[in-house]
């Protein structure tokens, strides 16, 4: 088994370890599971389960810097206190970078062939374009969703038996479609999403390299990004996973949150 760790998991783990050490209470629910995953990697260092690429490492630091910069603008405050705010942000960056470095040092840094990545990027782009078309046809507008609701409801509406109210049936399918659309909607918000496309192309290249002339392996991407690499789980157990299902079907890569992947590691 190999687990490619996405940028947001690396960043979240570094933040969690700092807030734990400093003793700051925070509410974000994804902190702990990211750190827990790295804890497992540390305990099973010899198995070399956790992997990372140069792109992910570099993107992690850039993502952290971007998030800190964006947070400064949100927090704002008295302009005369700008130096204090910037100094605090520098301290946070330094503390998180140090943790990120410690965490990525226990991951296997897999080199990737640029040629393979370029070739696989074409496959990823093809998938993205088809997802975009699917969005436009079925989920991208109120009209499209309504049309799809009626299409799905047709067999029941045309049934000879009298059952539920017609409008209730359409409402149920409408809700189903809204739920299905959530992950794809987040994917489209970031479309064409070049950094994540490149990460996926690298993941495919690494998997191809591992499997050359050998047994197939279980390959996963651990991520908290519900717009590309993680399904959305909703009340009642409903799963919004059109994008991640496509990734699994086309490339044999399972993508999910760290806490969903951890039980597979411990099997």
């Amino acid at each position: 088994m190999k687990i490619l760790v996405d940028t947001n998991v690396i960043v979240a783990a570094s933040i969690n370890e700092n807030v734990t050490e400093i003793g700051i209470p925070v509410k974000h629910q994804f902190y702990d599971q990211s750190s827990y995953l790295f804890g497992i990697f540390r305990r099973r260092l010899g198995d070399r389960i956790g992997i990372v690429t140069a792109t992910i490492e570099s993107e992690s630091f850039y993502t952290l810097a971007g998030a800190v910069n964006a947070a400064i603008h949100v927090i704002g405050g008295d302009p005369t206190q700008k130096r204090k705010l910037f100094d605090q942000a520098t301290a946070i960056m330094n503390l998180c970078e140090d943790k990120m470095r410690k965490n990525t040092n226990i991951l296997l840094r897999e080199p990737v062939s640029e040629t393979d990545v370029v070739n696989n990027l074409q496959l990823v782009d093809k998938m993205s374009e088809e997802l975009k078309r699917l969005w436009e046809q079925k989920y991208g507008s109120k009209y499209a969703k309504e049309k799809e609701s009626w299409e799905r409801a047709k067999p029941i509406l045309n049934a000879p038996w009298k059952g539920m109210d017609k409008q209730e049936i359409i409402r149920m399918y409408r809700e189903q479609i809204e739920g299905e659309a959530k992950q794809l909607s987040r994917f489209m918000d970031k479309y064409p999403n070049l950094p994540d496309s490149k990460i996926l192309a690298e993941a495919i290249s690494i998997l191809q390299h591992y499997e050359k002339g050998k047994e197939p392996i279980t390959f996963l991407i651990a991520s908290c990004d519900t717009g590309f690499f993680s399904p959305l789980r909703m009340k009642g157990g409903f799963l919004s996973n059109i994008v991640t299902t496509e990734i699994k079907n086309r490339f044999k890569i399972t993508c999910d949150f760290p806490d969903k992947i951890i039980p597979d590691i411990n099997k």
Binding site: N8, A65, V74, D87
Partner: protein, 176 residues
């Protein structure tokens, strides 16, 4: 002028490496270089650019590293750090020069420049850490405002594009 300061520092370091003796005259040049980085920080604080923090961060870290460098030079005799401190500084100075070039840029920054300064600052800190030229963790912690830190971290997490809470009170269990 800054080019001359770097040249002076580099020449002094090579001299120390050759002779095996620390020359504390270098402290004057290191202080001058620190002043340059402090002026750069002020420039970016006054800038209206939304990307000014990245450049401030680079210059501020360079200032911290120079603090540590000066401290090690001052204590080099009693710590028997002589000329190890010169050798360690020689490794760091070229990257510091690159950070200076990037942070001296004018205010018209683009994404490429931002990526460069983030990457160079990261490399500078990493190399400085390897050479024992970064301040302790406590120094960074002393700059934190612990009263508002929780809110700051939560805001940062939101900006990493991970939702703070998923919709519909999602079932994801925190197994941490």
């Amino acid at each position: 002028m800054t080019k001359q300061i770097f040249q002076n520092i580099t020449d002094s370091l090579y001299q120390m490496e050759d002779t095996g003796k620390v020359d504390l005259a270098i402290l004057k040049d290191l202080s001058e270089l620190q002043s340059v980085f402090k002026n750069i920080q002020t420039k970016w604080l006054e800038s209206k650019s939304k990307e000014s923090f990245y450049f401030y961060h680079g210059a501020r870290n360079a200032e911290f590293i120079l603090d540590k460098m000066k401290e090690r030079f001052e204590k080099s005799q009693e710590a028997h750090d002589n000329p190890q401190i010169a050798e360690d500084s020689l490794v760091v100075i070229p990257l510091m020069s690159e950070v200076l070039n990037l942070t001296e840029a004018d205010n018209n920054v683009d994404e490429q420049m931002v990526r460069q300064i983030v990457e160079r600052t990261r490399q500078l800190r990493q190399v400085a850490s390897d050479m024992n030229l970064v301040e302790s963790r406590e120094k960074d912690e002393s700059l934190l405002d612990k009263a508002t830190l929780g809110h700051t971290f939560d805001t940062i997490m939101e900006k990493i594009d991970i939702p703070v809470e998923l919709e519909n009170n999602v079932v994801v269990e925190d197994t941490g």
